[in-house]
Structures are given as C-alpha cells and as structure tokens.
C-alpha cells in the first residue's frame, strides 16, 4: 500500500531525518512549514533519496486557514495517509516570565495548532480505515519544572490530546504514536549547557519509524529516558518543589 506522509514542522532537524528515511522507502512526502525555501530544499533532497513524490506546503500553527489546503492535497493521494507532527516552540522561560503574553504562542504552536489540524484530518483516516499519526511531544511534558514549565504544559496538553486521538482512531483501524524525545542534538538545544546523553536527530527518526512499524503507543527516545522520567515522575511533590532540575 502506498504511503503518504504529511510532515508538520518539516524544517526541524528531527523531521528532516525522518523524511529522509521515509524517502528511502519510496513514500510520498508533503513537507509543511513556514520557511518555503528551506522546505523546497528538503523536498528536492528527499526526491533524490528515493521519495515517490515530494511537495512543500505552507503550514503555520497560528494560522488555521493554512490547514485545510494541506488536508485537501493529502486526500488526493491513493493509499495510506499518515501524519507526523514536529511543531512546537520553546522561548526561554525567563522571557516568558517577563512577558506572559508569549504563552499564547507557545500553546498555539505546541498544542492548539497541531491538535486542530489532526482533528480536521482524523475523519479522513477513519474513512480510509488506516493511517498512523506520530505526535512528537517532550519529556518536558511529564512534569512541570522551573526551567520550562510553560513549554512543558503545552506539550503535556498535546500528549493528552494524542492519547484521546489514539483511543478514537484505533477503533477505526488507525494508530497514534506519542513520541517523547529526551535531549536531541538540534538547533533548539545547540549551545544549551547541561545537556547529556544527547541523541542525533537520525537516531530519533529511526526509533520513531520502528515504533510506527511495531504500532507502539508511547515511546521515549532514546529508550532510557523512560526510566529517567519514571524516577522524575515519582519524586514526591514536597521534595520536587524545592528541586531545580
């Protein structure tokens, strides 16, 4: 069955790595984001690496009008339609503290935008009785920490949305994979101090595709973050509130 993948936030390095791997398998790729020049570069690259068809499409998590044309374009393809969501934004927590109005954007980019898009897409997946949604959230969404709790809360909201969507799509033959990456070597983490056990974007992409094949529900990538977060989630609140990790 021919696979079509909508990739939201395709300018991110994790998305690029995943697109390349999907290209190798001959998928059709709809690369969506705001920087059209950069998306076209990734589109040509994936075509060179074996994709059946690639297209760069405008997607802006803060502009609902950009959603429908992508879904319309995707439904023209025969076979299975899948969607991977890599969008999100993480301003410094200190900038947010200084200007709480920034919270709007973070929640829009990391939760409301992608959730709205997926809710528009879901009926088509149900109609076809197949298709996988990959939602990239973050270990930051597992517990609110002083360093990035606004970003964390937006990702946590998106994770709950994905859990519900999984509940819905599973009964229609579809599937949802929630991906919680730890530290990944991307533009977002470049130069941030205190990074450890940093994974390459390609290692994350490899994990994601393995999870898609095996129909996993929630994965941590690299895998050991499951255990790190298990510990962090179980620290009693009266201790956790005094910690700065």
């Amino acid at each position: 069955m021919h696979q079509t993948w909508i990739i939201l936030g395709a300018t991110s390095s994790m998305a690029r790595a995943m697109a390349r791997r999907l290209a190798k398998d001959g998928a059709t790729l709809l690369l969506c984001g705001r920087d059209m020049d950069d998306l076209s570069a990734t589109a040509s690259d994936c075509l060179a690496r074996g994709a059946t068809k690639t297209e760069a499409l405008r997607f802006d998590a803060r502009d609902r009008a950009s959603f429908a044309p992508i879904i319309e374009r995707a439904t023209k393809e025969e076979g299975t339609i899948n969607c991977a969501v890599f969008v999100g934004s993480m301003p410094e927590q200190s900038s947010i503290d200084a200007d709480p109005a920034l919270i709007d954007g973070v929640v829009q980019d990391s939760h409301i935008g992608p959730a709205t898009f997926l809710s528009l897409l879901a009926p088509h997946l149900e109609e076809r009785g197949q298709g996988t949604v990959v939602g990239v959230t973050s270990v930051a969404g597992d517990r609110g920490r002083i360093g990035n709790y606004v970003y964390g809360s937006a990702k946590a909201g998106f994770a709950i949305y994905l859990s519900g969507l999984r509940n819905r799509l599973t009964r229609a033959g579809g599937h949802v994979v929630t991906v919680k990456p730890g530290f990944v070597d991307t533009a977002m983490t470049w130069g941030i101090e205190g990074m450890f056990l940093v994974a390459t974007p390609d290692a994350v992409a490899k994990d994601i595709l393995k999870a898609v094949r095996k129909k996993k529900n929630v994965i941590y990538t690299p895998f050991f973050w499951r255990y790190i977060m298990l510990i962090i989630r179980h620290i009693p609140e009266f201790i956790f509130k005094k910690m700065s990790i």
Partner: protein, 437 residues
C-alpha cells in the same frame, strides 16, 4: 544565532582549537548569521591539521546543510548544500548511473571541504581535481551572497582550493559523470620496490590507480607495496553498510615500530604473488577506512600528523631519499600511499601538480614533527609542495615558493575578505595571506 563554546580538532587530533561555533540548519540562517558575524566555515573536519580550525575565534559548522537541491537527469549536474558528505552524493546517484568524477579517500569529506581543498582521488591522472568538475559555487561574503562560475576569473580560482578564504561556501553545482553501476573491478598485485612501482604507474591503463606503500621497508625492499587498479563496472550493490567503530583511544604501543612492521609484512603478503582480481562495491576501494568509524583513535590521545607532498616526475631521487629517511625513523604507520598525479588542478592554491605524491601518517610521538619538517624541506628543495589539507607542522618559510600563484591568490582573497575574518589557524601559521606571499 546561538554560539556554542567548543574545543575541536582536525582529523589528526594533534592540533585543537577553542572557540565559539554556530551550526545553522537553513540557508537563510547561515546568510543572516554571516552578515552579522563573518567567520570561517568547517564541515566534517576530515582535514588532518589545522586548516579548518579557528582558535580563539568563531567558526560555522555547516554539516547540517547537507541536502541535494536539484538534479538535472539530462546533463548530470547536481546542486547540493556545502555540508553534504561526498560519499552520500556518490551513494545517492551511482545506482541511477551518475557518480562524482572525483572522490577523495574518505566519503565523509563534505562538498564544501572538497572545493576549499580542491581534493583529488585515485583517478587524478585521468579526471584531474575535484574543483575542475564544479560548475557553480554560492559564496556568502559578509552581507552579500554571490554566485560564481569558472567564468568569474580570479575569484573562482581563489575559491577552488582556496581554503575557504573568499567567503563561506554555501552551495555548489557539480557535473557528475555517467557510470555503468556502483561496483568496481579491483586488481591488486605486489610491487617489489620503488622502481617497480614507478614502472607500474607508467604502464597502468586503468582509471583508478593507487599504491599502498610499506613505509617501514628499507634496503632492497625500499618502496615495496601493493598496486591497486580499478575500473567501475555494472552491477548494483544491495548490501547495507555495516560500519565498525573504534570505541576508545588505543594505547601507545598499538602503532609502535615493531607492531607496524609486522602488520605491514602481513598486509603485503595478503595479496598472493600472482596478484588477484575481485569485484567490490564502489565504496570499498574508494573509502577503505570509512568502514571503521573514528579510526583516528587508533593513534591514541596525542593523535597523529600526516605528511603529504608531491614532487615533480623527474625528482624520483628525492622520493627515494624520503622513503629511506622514513624507513630509518621507525616512526611510520601502516597508512602510506604513493600515486602518480597528472597536471589537473582547479585553482591558484590547488595541491595537485604533475609528479608523484607520497602520503604517510606519523603518530604524534617524539621525533615525528622533526621528521615531517625535514621531509617538508626536501619537498620544497625538489620544487614540490605539501598539501594544506594534511599539514599541521610546517612553518611559513618552509612553504615559500611551493605555490607559484600564491601572490595572486593572496591579493584576491585579501580583496574579498579585507578584514581577514576568514583566516584559519593554518592560514595564520603559514602566513599564507601575508606580505611577501
């Protein structure tokens, strides 16, 4: 742009630099950053010495700009971002019947690095240098982005092989060459001494020819080794690449004199006396060491230096003296290469010239830098030159006169980069852009 304070090295790890590094992931980010902060760029840092280092200054890591931007199936011209590894480009198109006409000894080298060092391959005597197959370069020079071609005159010649001194190389178009498939017929045979080698190079008719030389051999075995001759053939390699890894620094004795002598003896005898022919995936003979990731760790924490020179064809006597000196030093490693070069070169500062090129790795041990220094003097006296992509040892006076067009180059790059913001450690060490150049 986010700057990350890093300590980084060249492939030989004998020299390191500390400074802030930015790693743009998009062309627009690179252009914006360079407009604000002009600094040299590096790729995979597969150059051995300090040509890609900027100690105490800033630098751009362009390895995230590694995409194919366009491909014309009629003409075989491909446009790529400068951070794309040349081996990836080879793998992407070989099965479609196209291949980069020139590939260096490692597939990890980026296209930007291949241009800036005007690299050569095992087919230099047939296809010339890498830069001769580049048809267009996008240079980011401070606030302006320029697209240059071979018709751009001085700026082109100062960019190809120009050590990144004319601007940050952001994209390039390369004329690929048609190929039958991605397999290679490889013939290996033993060569008993230097004269035998030189004769074999003269008689060789294959496109890809290179010699592994036993640099520990002395006396009547001086210059013995194995000649590898290859031709691309039809067939498609379906095997995935399972790479090995050197997980940690090897101890000091791993490449000591006696170990290397035994290794070289076995390596020489591996090829039967009557020779042998085999068909291999193209990447095996092209990039023999890429199968072992981080093989530079075999040299331990102190790293190693590679000496590579080329001497004019009539100066075989110097080549012989160099091999005698290297053999007597007991410092050579198993990695030594001899090759006959043609005249092909793409720019003012391109390394290739007609003659014989010798490359030998030396662990960074007592006496090795002095030995490299002596060999450098010998190359200079013989009218030859050393390869900047390898050097980490020479002094400014030792390279004077090696590159006849250096004055023209310096004039052009000083015009292109008047603030000298693109200088790297090697350019400063050898005073390449200075007065009297």
């Amino acid at each position: 742009m986010v700057w990350n304070k890093l300590t980084y090295t060249g492939w030989g790890r004998a020299r390191s630099a500390s400074g802030e590094v930015a790693r743009p992931e998009r062309q627009s980010t690179l252009a914006r950053a360079v407009a604000e902060t002009l600094a040299p760029a590096f790729g995979m840092r597969r150059s051995y010495g300090d040509v890609a280092l900027n100690d105490g200054g800033k630098a751009y890591d362009i390895t995230r700009l590694d995409r194919v931007l366009s491909f014309d199936a009629e003409t075989g011209i491909v446009e790529v971002e400068a951070g794309m590894p040349i081996g990836d480009l080879g793998r992407a198109y070989a099965s479609k019947g196209w291949i980069p006409p020139v590939m260096p000894g490692t597939g990890f080298a980026t296209v930007g690095g291949c241009i800036a060092n005007d690299v050569h391959g095992k087919n230099h005597h047939v296809k010339g240098s890498f830069g001769q197959h580049v048809t267009e370069i996008t240079l980011v020079q401070s606030t302006k982005t320029r697209v240059i071609t071979p018709r751009s005159g001085k700026l082109w010649k100062a960019t190809v092989g120009g050590l990144g001194q004319t601007g940050v190389i952001a994209k390039a178009k390369i004329q690929l060459m048609p190929c039958k498939g991605d397999m290679m017929v490889l013939t290996e045979r033993r060569i008993s001494d230097l004269d035998d080698f030189l004769m074999a190079f003269d008689e060789s008719k294959t496109d890809y020819t290179v010699g592994w030389i036993d640099a520990t051999a002395t006396g009547k075995h001086l210059g013995r080794g194995i000649l590898e001759e290859g031709e691309i053939t039809s067939g498609i390699n379906k095997k995935g690449d399972g790479a090995l890894e050197v997980p940690f620094n090897a101890p000091g004795w791993a490449l000591s004199g006696p170990v290397v002598r035994v290794f070289n003896e076995l390596y020489f005898r591996r090829v039967p006396t009557r020779g042998r022919t085999s068909v291999k995936p193209i990447t095996d003979p092209f990039f023999p060491l890429d199968a072992i990731h981080n093989w530079n760790r075999l040299y331990g924490k102190r790293g190693f230096n590679q000496f590579q020179c080329v001497v004019p064809p009539e100066r075989v006597d110097v080549l012989r003296k160099m091999l005698e000196k290297i053999g007597a030093s007991h410092l050579a490693s198993p990695l030594a290469v001899l090759k006959k070069m043609g005249p092909g070169r793409g720019g003012y500062m391109s390394f290739p010239m007609e003659g014989y090129t010798l490359a030998v790795d030396f662990p960074n041990r007592e006496g090795s830098q002095e030995l490299i220094s002596e060999l450098t003097d010998m190359a200079q006296d013989a009218g030859g030159r050393i390869y900047f992509a390898k050097d980490g040892v020479a002094e400014a006076a030792q390279v004077a006169g090696m590159y006849p067009d250096q004055g023209l180059w310096a004039e052009t790059v000083n015009e292109a980069d008047p603030s000298h913001a693109l200088e790297t450690d090697l350019v400063r060490r050898l005073n390449l852009r200075g007065k009297g150049a």
